[in-house]
């Protein structure tokens, strides 16, 4: 942060805060793809909003494909977005059809809290999820 300690101007702080806010979620995907689409690609990847690309591990995709059925593969959008909120200690994963809940409960080897819209994951469980689904999950920071 190029702020001189003796002369912090209003513009410095304003620009700094704006840039910081933009940078926090610069890595979210521009558009997600279904599991079926990704399985058909030779190099499964998506574009991110910062212009970079995010590759998926084929082994991971095959692992997910084993858990869910043919129809569900057409609806599962990847990467799964895990909403990290500073207000709450737990993490939410959007799951309108319950496919994500099915995958996460398989990964964690236990039932997960699912309320027809969101799957609640606790921070302690994150390590296990990220270990298995390192490329098919993505963090999103919500204020």
């Amino acid at each position: 942060m190029p702020i001189d300690d003796k002369k912090i101007t209003d513009t410095h702080i304003s620009v700094y805060l704006e840039n910081e806010f933009k940078a926090i979620n610069a890595h979210i995907p521009r558009n997600r793809k279904t599991l079926t689409q990704l399985l058909q690609e030779t190099r499964p990847q998506i574009d991110l909003s910062d212009g970079s690309t995010h590759f998926f591990r084929k082994k991971e995709l095959e692992y997910i494909a084993e858990i869910i059925n043919e129809e569900e593969r057409n609806f599962l959008m990847l990467p799964m977005l895990m909403e990290v909120s500073s207000e709450m200690s737990d993490i939410k994963v959007r799951s309108s059809r319950g496919i994500e809940a099915k995958i996460l409960s398989k990964v964690l080897d236990m039932d997960v809290a699912y309320d027809q819209k969101n799957v609640t994951v606790y921070r302690r469980q994150l390590g296990q999820i990220r270990k298995i689904l390192a490329t098919s999950t993505q963090y999103v920071f919500t204020p």
Binding site: K7, D10, I13, H27, S52, F55, S86, R130, T135, Y139
Partner: protein
Amino acid sequence: MATKVQVTRPTKMELARLKRRLKLAIRIQKIVKDRLSLLIMEFLQTVRECAVVREKLLTEFYEAYKAFSIASGYHGEVILEKAIAFTNMNLQITAGTRNVAGVKLPIFEIEKTDPHGSKNRNLSDGSSILDYSIERSQKCLETIIQLTELQTSLELLGAEINKVKRTNNALEYIVIPSLDETIRYLNMKFEERDREETARLKYVKRLLEQKEAYAY
């Protein structure tokens, strides 16, 4: 001590703007803290994975050296060197990046076209011992690639953690306190202005009262 932000106009509108900015700074700091904790979690996980893969690599190296030393004893140095020189492996690596909370980490996917490796050497010189030792060394290569990915990820995550820590400290110790200080300063200034205004009004009132008294 926190430095005061230099505001251009000490007005009520400016105060409201600064208050909004302070709220935003606090929100950003919370998110930055969250990001920091997640990055540390990823870092520790990578460290653990790295240790496992390193252990695996050491075992594979041990196996490979053992197999090569047996092959060297059985065939002799010349045949072994010839076999190594003329053996190739059809190994294809796909390199890309994955994004973890804003950090671009490398990803290497090994795609072997021939799972048994192609053996271009003279079959009359070979033996199962030689094949086994070559197979062991090829196994090492796969683990080396895996370790490279983890080691690079570790370095990148470490660098990002340092950066995020600095951002968090800048927000916690410079931006938020200086905004706080400026808001307090402006509040004090407005209170002072109000007091001056009240005193002035009282003075004017007294003057008017005196004027009225003299008029009678």
